[in-house]
Structure formats: C-alpha cells, structure tokens
Symmetry: C2
C-alpha cells in the first residue's frame, strides 16, 4: 500500500483548472442581477473570441448531446434529407438524433478507427442535391480519429446544406477556422478542453444556419436557440443558468486567452504526438494511425490482452483514471487523453506507469523506453536545437 493520487485523465471529464474550480465557490450569486449579467455577457464574448468566429455563440445548460439535439430540433424539419458521417460512437449518436427527429438520413459509414473522407461527403452531396445538412464529428473521441472538416466544409459551402460539426473534443485540440471553413454550427462542451466540470454546452451558429431556423418545423421548448440569442443579447439565459459552471468557465477562458487558443491546440497536438511516439516505441499499435486526433490517443493492448486490465491497473496501481474503449470497443483499446489541462508531466508519468503495467503483465519492456520517446518529443519542441544532444 502506498499513496496513489487520484488523477482524472480521461477525454472528458478532463482535469480541472484549479482556479476555475475555486471560482465555483463564488456561486452564491443570483442569475437575474446585473453582476451576473456582466459575467454571462463576458463569458459569451470570450467563448466567441477563443472560438475565433463572427457567428453567434450561445450557451446551454446541457451536456454536449443537448446541443447536438438543439442543432437538429432548431434548424431542420421532418423528412429533411441529411448526410451523416459515422465512424464511431459519436457519429452513431448523430444518426440516432436525426432519426429520432424524423429526418431522412444518408449515412456515410466508415470503419471504427478510420475517417469518412471529404470526397465521400462531396459525392454524397452531388447524389443528394436536396440535402439540407451534413453532420460530422471534428474529432471522434471514441476511436481517436479526426475528420477533415476543412475539406468537408469546402464541399458543403457551395451547396444549400449547412455543416453541423460536433467539435466537443475538437475545440482546443485542432485548428478550426469556423468562418473560413464554413462550419455553420460548431458544438462544444464544458468538460473538455475548457477544463471545467460537465453541465454546459455551447454552440456557434452561422447566418446561413439561422435562415434554416426560420423554416424549421420541429417541436422544441427547452432548446430554443432563437430565444437564447434574444436573451443572450441582454446578458440573460432563457432558463436558470449553471452559475457555478459559468463562474468556472469565466476563469478557464481567462486562462485560455492568456495561453492563446492556438497554443492550447498546439499543446494537445504536442502531447498527442509524444504519446503516439511513446506507445509505438513500446511496440504497441495505434488504433487510428491514419488520421489521429489530438484529443485522445487510442492504443491497442498487446495481443491477447483485454484493455480493461490496463485501465484497471492504471487506477489500482497509480490512481490514474484513463479511458477504456466505449461500447463495442470496450476491451479493445485504451485511451490516453490530451485535451485541455494536460501537460508533459502527465505524459511522463502516464508512460512510465504504462511501462510498469506492461511489465507486470509479462510484456517485455525496457524501462524508460517510452518515457525517452516523450522526452525526445519535448526536446523537439522546447529545447534549442544545439542542446538536443541527449
């Protein structure tokens, strides 16, 4: 028995920014006051700034899935033809939501671990000139792959369809030029790269998407984007806001702005590259080697080993909470996250722990091999060239 600090290191909820956590203690504040209205306005303005868009940005008291539903129920009508990219559990969620609301979905299916190509989206748009929308994940957290939403956006922009992007783990882990790439709806969640607990979602909505809202005929009440937009202009939310999370988000956004959104993205990319290099050095296979996202790295366990053993040993031996595969991927992969408040120290420890777990399970490992790969990745980005002699 020895001390094991419990470290939350999953791709959501992600590690919390301490200052954001502490800010939640200020939530003895009423939401229908000018004090709070100022905070609300400033959070929405900061979100807009870090998302880098001229589109409207709204916040909802919901998990990311709530915002996904809101994009469907507010912008589409029963029978609308839509194209849905499915290459993982979250792609399947898009398919389920549009089906639940009676849309007519053309599903572009791809194997788990791979990505739906922009070419397939372009082809599908040609084959379905009446398509009103395209749904995709920027980053498919369940498999660790990412979609080329830039190329997809180029194809979609020329058509009458809008592009609805689940960027819940994409925001803060990959460049997303929302306005330049024609990402009409971009959805984020509080418990991802924004470093605060779950309970809030946000979304940007383009002028093109708003025109869809004018003709949408689906029933809605709680998720009413037009109403949210009107209230947001007055520093108000339509319903009671999650005050504690708002206060936390205000602090987290301050931190992200100081760091720079581009640096937050780069941080995730660097840690993801370091992790890929480490697990490869240890002889393990990446589950999504072709187009890996930087939110999370999915790793296949050694042949014949259940990934749950690795996840459990991470927790039992070291208190490190990492993610197993989800749904049908359970036991097939383990996932090391990078989105938001993660740093090199996390990766040094996670890889040193992985080496021990492998050794404890009879996998031949030379201790330090994976860690050295992470150190070399650090040296690559942060040591002057002449000092990288090690």
């Amino acid at each position: 028995m020895y001390i094991k600090k419990q470290r939350l290191l999953t791709p959501g909820p992600t590690p919390l920014l301490p200052k954001a956590l502490h800010a939640m203690m200020g939530s003895d504040i009423h939401h229908r006051t000018d004090d709070f209205r100022n905070i609300y306005r400033s959070v929405l303005a900061d979100l807009k700034e870090v998302m880098g868009t001229a589109n409207d940005v709204l916040a909802l008291v919901a998990s990311g899935t709530g915002a996904m539903e809101a994009s469907v129920s507010n912008l589409f009508s029963p029978g609308d033809r839509v194209i849905v990219c499915v290459a993982g559990k979250f792609g399947e969620r898009w398919a389920e939501i549009v089906k639940a609301f009676g849309l007519d979905a053309v599903v572009l299916q791809e194997d788990y671990g791979k990505s739906v190509s922009a070419q397939r989206v372009a082809d599908a748009l040609k084959a379905n000139p009446n398509a009103r929308g395209v749904f995709a994940q920027a980053s498919e957290t369940s498999t660790g792959a990412q979609h080329d939403v830039r190329a997809m956006g180029q194809a979609i922009q020329k058509t009458g369809a809008i592009f609805v992007v689940d960027a819940i783990t994409g925001l803060g882990t990959m460049p997303l030029d929302i306005d330049g790439w024609g990402l009409d709806v971009v959805i984020g969640g509080s418990q991802k790269a924004f470093m605060i607990p779950p309970g809030m979602a946000f979304m940007s909505i383009s002028p093109k998407a708003w025109t869809f809202g004018e003709t949408s005929k689906l029933p809605r009440y709680y998720f009413n984007l037009k109403k949210e937009k009107k209230n947001a202009a007055n520093g108000e939310s339509s319903w009671t806001p999650a005050t504690a999370l708002l206060l936390a988000l205000a602090e987290a956004l301050k931190y992200v702005k100081t760091l720079g959104m581009d640096k937050l993205v780069q941080n995730a990319q660097q840690l993801a590259a370091a992790t890929r290099s480490a697990v490869t050095a240890l002889g393990l296979e990446l589950f999504a080697p072709q187009s890996p996202c930087s939110a999370v790295t999915s790793v296949c366990p050694p042949k014949g080993m259940d990934s749950g053993v690795i996840v459990k040993e991470y927790r039992d031996r070291f208190g490190s909470i990492i993610a197993n595969g989800q749904g049908s991927m359970k036991g097939q992969i383990f996932r090391i996250a990078h989105l938001g408040y993660f740093d090199f120290a996390d990766v040094f420890a996670l890889i040193a722990e992985l080496e021990i777990i492998l050794a404890a399970n009879g996998v031949p490992v030379k201790f330090g091999t994976g860690v050295a790969a992470v150190q070399n990745a650090y040296a690559e980005v942060a040591l002057a060239k002449e000092t990288v002699t090690a």
Copy 2:
C-alpha cells in the same frame, strides 16, 4: 509555450490532499460551539493516534517554530544548561531560540549534510550532568539528513534531561516510537506530512516534560501549554483556533488513518529511495548520503552549476515547484520532497523533467535512465517477484 500545471512539490508547504482542501469550505462554523468542540476533540484524538503516543497532544495556531519556542518557554528556565544538536539550518534555529530565552547551550555542531551522532549526545550528557534538555531535529530538512533519535533517546532517558524533538518533517517520514524511545516533546506542523496548508503546529508532551513545566520560570502568554491542556480537555483551544485548518486536518487525519501511519512513512521512504537511486543513476551526488532522511532528498548539481538554475528550470519548463538550498546552501543543492501527499507519478515526472533540464544545460544524459531507476524501485516494492523481468 505549452501548459505547465503548477505543482507544489516542496518539503513544506507540501502538496495538499484535495479532500482536506475542500473541507476548508465548511469553516463558516463558530469555534465556541459543541459542533466545533467535537471536531477539535476528534482531531486531537486522531493526532494522538497517528503519532502513536500515550502522551498529551496539543495543537497551536502557529508555524512549527511557534511550537519550538513553546517547548522552550514552557519547560525551561533562564540559565538552564541544555545540549543542542546543530547540523543544519533548523538545528541553528534551536540554538537561536534557547539563546533568545537565556538558556545555557552546549552546541554539538556537525557539518551540513552529516548528523550529530548519538554517541556525542551521550558524551555531552556525561560531561554536563546538570543538563536539563537535549534539542534535535528528527529530520533536518535543510540538508536532507536525519538524526538517530532512537539512540539519542536511549542515552537521554537515563538522565534528568528531557528530549525535545523537532519532528516537523520527521512525523510521517520515519518511524518514531515516541513513548518507547523517550521522545519527551515531539513537534509537528500542518504543512508537512499532514497534507494541509501552513498555520498549525502540534506537539506531544510526556509526563517527564510536564514536571519541567511546574518549575519553568520563563515569561509566556500566548504559548501556554498547561492552559492549552486544560482547555483541550473541554474540546477548546485557549485562543481562537484556525477553524479552516482544523477542518482540513480532520479530513487529512481520516486519510492518514485509512492509509495507516506506517504506510505513510513507508511511502516517503520508498519515494526517497527511488529518488536517490534515480539521481545516482544520472551521475549526480547526494548531499547527505550517510544518513539520508525520507522527507526530502538533497542533490548536488553537476560541478560548476548553480542549483538555482535547476530549480528555476523545473518551474519555468514544467511548473514544478521544488526547493533550492536554504541560507548558505542556496545554489549548492536542490531538494526533492517526499513527505505527505506524494506518489510515484510525481517522482516519474520529476525525474523525467530533471533529465531534460540536465540535457538542456549540456550535461550528457541518456533519456529514461533515471526514470528506469524509479521504475525499478517501484517494481521492487510493488510487483510480484516473478513479474520483475523488465
């Protein structure tokens, strides 16, 4: 620029137990109520339990130095002959305090990094049969050496002197059989192995020490141990207690009791051994190799290098706050702590970071060498023998 989580990893203040930190939010409580009296009583009882003594245990609103002063001002009289072991900055503090209160000190000086031997204490007692007290550090945090307080206690027990032990970083990092070894006064502090912020000290006082209190002629008011004892029996402190810290300590003691005080000690010992093995593998020299304590490991920087560079690069590159040498040792050593809420993941990261810092400063390092030493230390204690093939 990349994310650097600020991690407090110094030998005090030490990393905070999250549950203890959160408990401080409950400090909208008045201290002269039965609710608080129950907490106060229970904290003192738990302290007594984890310290493993039948002696009285009292708490003070003060840093550890306050309790050091209290032991002098409450138990001695001007002109009393005392023996003071000095092998570092905290030993010097004992010498300063007894001087400030007019005691007649025989100082047993030893080089920094070494320890005053029990034999020297025994000899000094023989040479000074009128000695009323012996003062020493269990663990001398400024150099990383420890004293053999067990052997010292054996020599002192037979005499009329009492043994006053600064165990501020000794408690929770080394076995201390307070009653069996004749440690008459044992002093601890909140911000050490007890995992909470600074602001509280505590001390155990033996029956033999209490008899000294009867004849002590030094002026005192705030630090009045007899008065504290009387009030403590009623669940009260003499003056306003640090309620937030008390609530935090209650949680921390719950944690320590669940872990087991012996396991807390073992944890520090294991991390210290792993750290010594790692820095040695990296070709660095230990500052106190002969009798290293487990509270902190003092390491000499490579020849010609100021340890402040290492401390600064730990902070600037990785957000890891470690300690430089104190006083005259500044620039001569850097100190990696192990006391309290530290775990192997901390050490994996700290050593990986050290390797990078050395490389960045032109010291030849094979990345992973030190980390592998830590991993082997982990394997030694936590992997079944047959699996240690790595």
